[in-house]
């Protein structure tokens, strides 16, 4: 149980909320996400089997594993979109349910899931509008966010006029709209080409550096997981379990494309691959 | 299974409820209806306008005319339904066959598609059926060799025309729905167009054909009934509706019996098309299982 609670090696110590001296039990010390003994069954299928995972504030953690191993289910359990059959999930010290009602997280899926009848800006404004933010404030925030993801010129376009990568950026801007302290992403770049993917990875890191939010990131891609993460959680299928947790240490320097060529990066990729292989070993 | 019984029960209850509402209105509704500003808004509730449900069922068993040996209304309605069924099926099959053939040609010849498809589509938005009274005049006037135009032929032609356009449009869409990658694959095999049609395009069109045929079936029934009425073709259920409607003063329940027959005819044809559709659904389900 405690084996998965690794002290995050590469977490920037200066992230907001972690700057203060950790007071035991105080809000600053509460982890961003605590998953304890979570089991989830769908009929006869055990999608998650005894998951324990603690994610500290400001950390970026990737979930990786063969398809069907329960990555999406785990993310949805944290988001309170799926209820655990057993076990407990706490988000920022609250129950996952409370955290959802309080809008403590933003979420993005593999499908951008934009509302095609709204403009790009209208889509980014959607969560704000739903939660009663005034028109002017909404406009302003949407403008900021579209600036952030480089789509300022497309505010009045319809989603159908955008490429897949642009739509995904709108979805990310929408997930960030309410300045969530936790960002949940389920293979958000899964359907994109390699170039777009790498650009968006860099953008995600920039956003995270600017906001200091915690990120839980589901992916299929080992290099993507390594490039983005402080820790990579490797899961095994049938039943879904945490097989290994690989800390990634790429030095304290900012991650840019040059990192991908370093020996440290290659070493982490090898390590994650080995952990993934081990999950496939015949039992 | 349980859900199916439950749904059947709900439908049965709904039908009973509608009949009860009918009788209920008869019990409390104003005999001469209710008017507002000279326009009658509530229907008359007298026995002539709205006969009792039992009355309608009873009418089926009564003889058609007051003479010994007369057939019952029920037999007359059944005979009418079968007669119209024959014409509607003939027209429906004919129209569907022509529609399918035209779809194949339009798929093959781009220019033909460009020239004809807009008109076929538009023909669905205009009352083609309106010409029914006009081809009555063809009886006796048109002959092809030994065969002279009969009123039945008018009915079949109208039914066929109404069935034709949904099949042509649906089949063309289906033939064109073959995946571009699969079309390229067939091109790479350098097989004749016939093989592509048989092994790729027609199978791709099957799921599109079922809803098209369902529509064609319903259209053929409406077409046949309206054509019978406006051409004065005797023997069919459409004509019977009109004849019995004219007897509404003496035996008001009869026209309802005829309408029940017309509804049964529509459901019968839909059921026949549904048999084809059910086979298609089973194929689709099997295909999904294989793919999974």
């Amino acid at each position: 149980m405690s084996s998965t609670r690794t002290t995050p090696g590469a977490t920037p110590a200066g992230g907001p909320g972690t700057a203060a001296a950790p007071a035991p039990g105080g809000p600053a010390a509460t982890p961003a996400v605590e998953v304890r003994g979570v089991v989830r069954r769908f009929g006869a299928v055990t999608a998650l089997d005894g998951i324990d995972l603690v994610i500290e504030r400001g950390e970026l953690v990737s979930l990786i594993g063969p398809s069907g191993c329960g990555k999406s289910t785990l993310l949805r359990v944290v988001a309170d979109l799926v209820e655990p059959t057993e076990g407990e999930v706490r988000v920022g010290g609250k129950s996952a349910h409370r955290a959802r009602l309080d809008q403590d997280y933003g979420i993005a899926f593999q499908a951008a899931g934009l509302l095609e009848w709204r403009t790009v800006a209208g889509n980014v404004e959607l969560p704000l509008q739903l939660h009663g933010v005034g028109r002017a404030a909404r406009r302003e925030r949407a403008r900021e966010l579209l600036d952030l993801v480089g789509l300022a010129d497309f505010a009045r376009h319809r989603p159908s006029q955008l490429s897949g990568g642009m739509q995904q950026r709108v979805a990310i801007a929408r997930a960030l709209a309410e300045r969530p302290s936790l960002l949940l992403m389920d293979e958000p770049f899964g359907a994109l080409d390699e170039m777009t993917r790498e650009r968006l990875q860099a953008e995600l890191l920039a956003v995270r550096a600017a906001t200091g939010c915690t990120v839980v990131f589901v992916t299929h891609s080992v290099p993507e997981a390594v490039f983005l993460s402080d820790r990579v959680v490797v899961m095994s299928a049938r039943p879904g379990r945490v097989a290994a947790v690989v800390p990634v240490r790429l030095g304290t320097a900012e991650r840019d494309d040059a990192v991908r060529a370093t020996p440290a990066f290659a070493a982490s990729v090898v390590q994650v691959r080995a952990a993934l292989r081990a999950t496939e070993a015949p039992r | 299974m349980n859900g199916r019984w439950r749904r059947a029960g709900v439908v049965a209850l709904t039908v009973v409820g509608l009949l009860a509402a009918w009788e209920g209105y008869k019990a409390v509704g104003p005999v001469d209806g209710a008017s507002l500003g000279g326009v009658r808004l509530l229907p008359r509730a007298d026995d002539r306008s709205m006969p009792h449900v039992g009355e309608v069922l009873g009418a089926l068993a009564r003889p058609e005319v007051d003479a010994p040996g007369s057939r019952t209304v029920g037999v007359a309605v059944l005979t009418g339904v079968l007669s119209t069924l024959r014409l509607a099926l003939l027209g429906g099959v004919l129209g569907s066959a022509v529609g399918l053939a035209l779809a194949v040609l339009m798929q093959r010849l781009r220019l033909l598609e460009a020239g004809l498809l807009p008109w076929v589509v538009l023909s669905q938005t205009v009352p083609i059926i309106a010409i029914a009274p006009l081809i009555t005049g063809w009886g006796g006037a048109v002959r092809l060799g030994p065969w002279a135009w009969t009123p039945q032929a008018s009915v079949v032609v109208i039914a066929a025309f109404l069935a034709f356009s949904p099949v042509a449009v649906g089949a063309l869409r289906g033939l064109q729905s073959a995946a571009p990658a699969a079309v390229e694959l067939f091109r790479s095999y350098a097989v004749p167009w016939r093989s592509q049609l048989l092994h790729l395009r027609l199978p791709a069109a099957r799921p599109y054909l079922v809803p098209a045929l369902r529509l064609a079936g319903a259209q053929a029934v409406v077409g046949a009934i309206v054509a019978e009425i406006s051409t004065g073709t005797r023997g069919g259920i459409g004509r019977l509706v009109i004849e019995y409607a004219q007897q509404a003063t003496s035996s008001p329940a009869r026209v309802y019996a005829a309408i029940l027959g017309a509804a049964a005819l529509g459901l019968l044809v839909a059921g026949l098309v549904g048999l084809v559709g059910a086979r298609e659904d089973r194929r689709a389900a099997a295909a999904v299982e294989v793919a999974a």
């Binding site: 009848w117 709204r118 | 749904r7 009658r40 059926i129 009274p133 029934v221 009425i229 459901l267």
Partner: protein
């Protein structure tokens, strides 16, 4: 260049087909291969259309009004029923099979009994027929639209802790609009067709349908065809209006990648 000419030919094709068809028709009648009472020539129909233009317009107005009233009433009822059925399962289980059955049966055959129920001097029987005919496609499509919610959208709204009403307002209703308009487009043509056909079952002699039958009964075939032409024009008008409404109400569906 070749491409441009090719697409020009494709655009011209329907016009060429129509002209060729009319020319062949005209020629057949002129050379006497087809008797005028079997098929009057297009020019004869046109002449008759000019001659009785005012009556044609009046008849088209009467039929058009019946179709319009029935279309509006049927659409309103269908939308109401669909929104209730989308919420209440029992209602859905009761109405969906009935609508499927209604789609298969010849609803116009009800015209004579409506005429006895309301009196043959009223336009109401025909409007009721149109209402019922319109109800079926609008109800079926609207219900399908209301029940179809993109799972990603549903999950997104849940993540926003949005209320059921907010989900309906922002996701379910806009998502259902294209379906509703598909139903309305079908219903608009069906309204005109059933309004014309309902007149074949007797009743007031005001509209296009009754004029077609009476002209045919008097062997005034060119005049009858003139009314048929008007009926087709009315059908196209309704269809075009539904299409225009659809485009205005769902502008995002035109905004494809240009």
């Amino acid at each position: 260049m070749r491409r441009a000419r090719g697409s020009g030919a494709l655009l011209l094709a329907p016009v060429v087909v129509a002209l060729a068809f009319l020319a062949a028709w005209e020629a057949l009648v002129r050379v006497g291969r087809v008797a005028p009472f079997v098929l009057p020539s297009p020019t004869a129909v046109l002449a008759s259309l000019r001659e009785v233009g005012a009556q044609v317009l009046a008849a088209a107005g009467a039929t058009g009004l019946n179709a319009l009233v029935g279309l509006v009433a049927g659409t309103a009822l269908a939308l109401l029923a669909a929104s209730l059925a989308a919420r209440v399962r029992v209602l859905r289980e009761a109405l969906v099979p009935l609508a499927a059955a209604a789609a298969a049966i010849p609803i116009v055959a009800l015209a004579p009994v409506f005429a006895t129920m309301y009196g043959a001097t009223s336009e109401l029987p025909r409007r009721l027929v149109v209402t019922l005919v319109v109800f079926v496609p609008v109800f079926v499509n609207a219900l399908r639209g209301l029940l179809t919610v993109d799972p990603v959208h549903a999950e997104l709204m849940r993540s926003y802790a949005a209320s059921g009403w907010a989900t309906t307002r922002w996701v379910r209703l806009p998502g259902a609009l294209p379906f509703v308009f598909t139903g309305l487009r079908l219903a608009a043509s069906a309204a005109v067709i059933s309004a014309v056909v309902a007149e074949y079952f007797g009743g007031l002699q005001t509209g296009l349908g009754s004029r077609i039958t009476s002209a045919a009964a008097n062997s005034a075939y060119p005049r009858a065809w003139a009314y048929v032409v008007a009926a087709c024009a009315l059908g196209l008008l309704f269809y075009a209006a539904a299409l225009a409404l659809e485009r205005a109400a769902t502008p995002w569906r035109r905004a494809g990648t240009g």
